[in-house]
């Protein structure tokens, strides 16, 4: 149970739904409310599909490459830490890549905004966890579900917290991701030293 929650929370923090709200809103501002809902539900489902596909792909890849648990923990810790650094030190006016004006389909909302490279990397890293398939899958769905609610209510959340509040959340979450990253790395390191 503890593993389940810790995986779900890590994924939720890396998906960074709160931090993506400003970008998402600027992408869909020209649509009516109804169109927006249809669009985001479709993109959310596609993102979930991508995440689950990567979960199985990750297992396959890792068993192919024959990497050990220590390797996955240490590299996973480093990757997570780099993600965290980006969340923590992101400048307010950092320019996002410009996406074309056409109706978003898969790119850029489903991926990379929702199921971005960092999320997929974390999912692949989790594939090596001892815990059963079902736990990881459940955690993916839980993290996705909570993020979905945030996306569906993004307008209200944005009105309530403004860009500054969202930035604050993102930074605090980044700090938590950094701590999780270091803990993962340390576990790998002690595993290596005890060998």
């Amino acid at each position: 149970m503890r593993v389940f929650f810790s995986i779900a929370l890590t994924l939720f923090l890396v998906i960074d739904a709160l931090g993506s709200i400003p970008v998402y809103l600027s992408l869909v501002q020209k649509f009516t409310k109804k169109e927006r809902m249809r669009l985001i539900i479709r993109e959310l489902l596609i993102a979930l599909g991508i995440m689950i596909a990567f979960h199985y792909l990750g297992q396959l890849l890792l068993s192919w490459l024959g990497v050990t648990k220590v390797t996955v923990q240490m590299s996973g810790g480093i990757i997570l830490f780099l993600i965290a650094i980006r969340l923590i030190f992101k400048e307010k006016d950092e320019t996002e890549p410009k996406w074309s004006d056409s109706t978003p389909f898969i790119v850029p909302i489903a991926t990379p905004l929702l199921a971005g490279p960092s999320v997929l990397a974390v999912i692949m890293m989790l594939a090596q966890e001892k815990s059963s398939d079902l736990v990881v899958l459940g955690a993916i769905i839980l993290a996705w579900f909570v993020s979905s609610i945030i996306y569906l209510a993004s307008k209200q959340i944005h009105n309530f917290m403004k860009n500054r509040g969202l930035l604050a959340c993102q930074r605090l979450m980044g700090l938590i991701v950094a701590i999780i990253a270091v803990q993962t790395f340390l576990r790998g390191l002690t595993g290596l030293l005890n060998k």
Binding site: I85, L172, L186, L189
Partner: protein, 197 residues
Amino acid sequence: MINLSVLFHTFFLFWIVLDPIGNLPIFVNALKHFEPHRQRAIIVRELLIALVVMLLFLFFGQGFFILLNIEQPALEITGGVILFLIGARMLFSEPNSGTQKKLKEEPFIVPLAVPAVAGPGILATIALYGGNQQIGTLTVLLAIVLSWAATLPFLLLAPYLKKIFKENGLVVVERLSAYLVILIAVQMAIQGLLNSL
């Protein structure tokens, strides 16, 4: 109900760990581009955020970290590495160059509130004392608020240091204090590493 000598002891320990004087260089550096008036506003805001973080940690911290399987060394190492990055940015930023515009960004939460004030040291101490049944949560709560209030006036001195040292003197102070920040950061990380091995 509240044992005064225990309260005083806890307060004093928290105040030492909050390290208002050691934090001064970090504050001076992060705030160098702002008017004294604005600096005071930022200091008060960041300290309030730090207080909120500390109180959140007192009430939810332990459960949260137990849930995530996170141990003390991870907190220390993370705090150390992040402070180190901040220190390195301070040390290698050229005055009057392009990077200055970037640094002019108002500090918000990172690095002042967390991890400079509400850093791993104070959070670990809070977790240690908050979990102690003999001391009691109320005493710890009071000690946090009191030590926080005793830290505020020291950090509010930061804007005046700029007046004393003038522009050029401040550049020297900046470099020196960036070095101090790096020292503090490495000490934090080494402490964590030693505890973890």
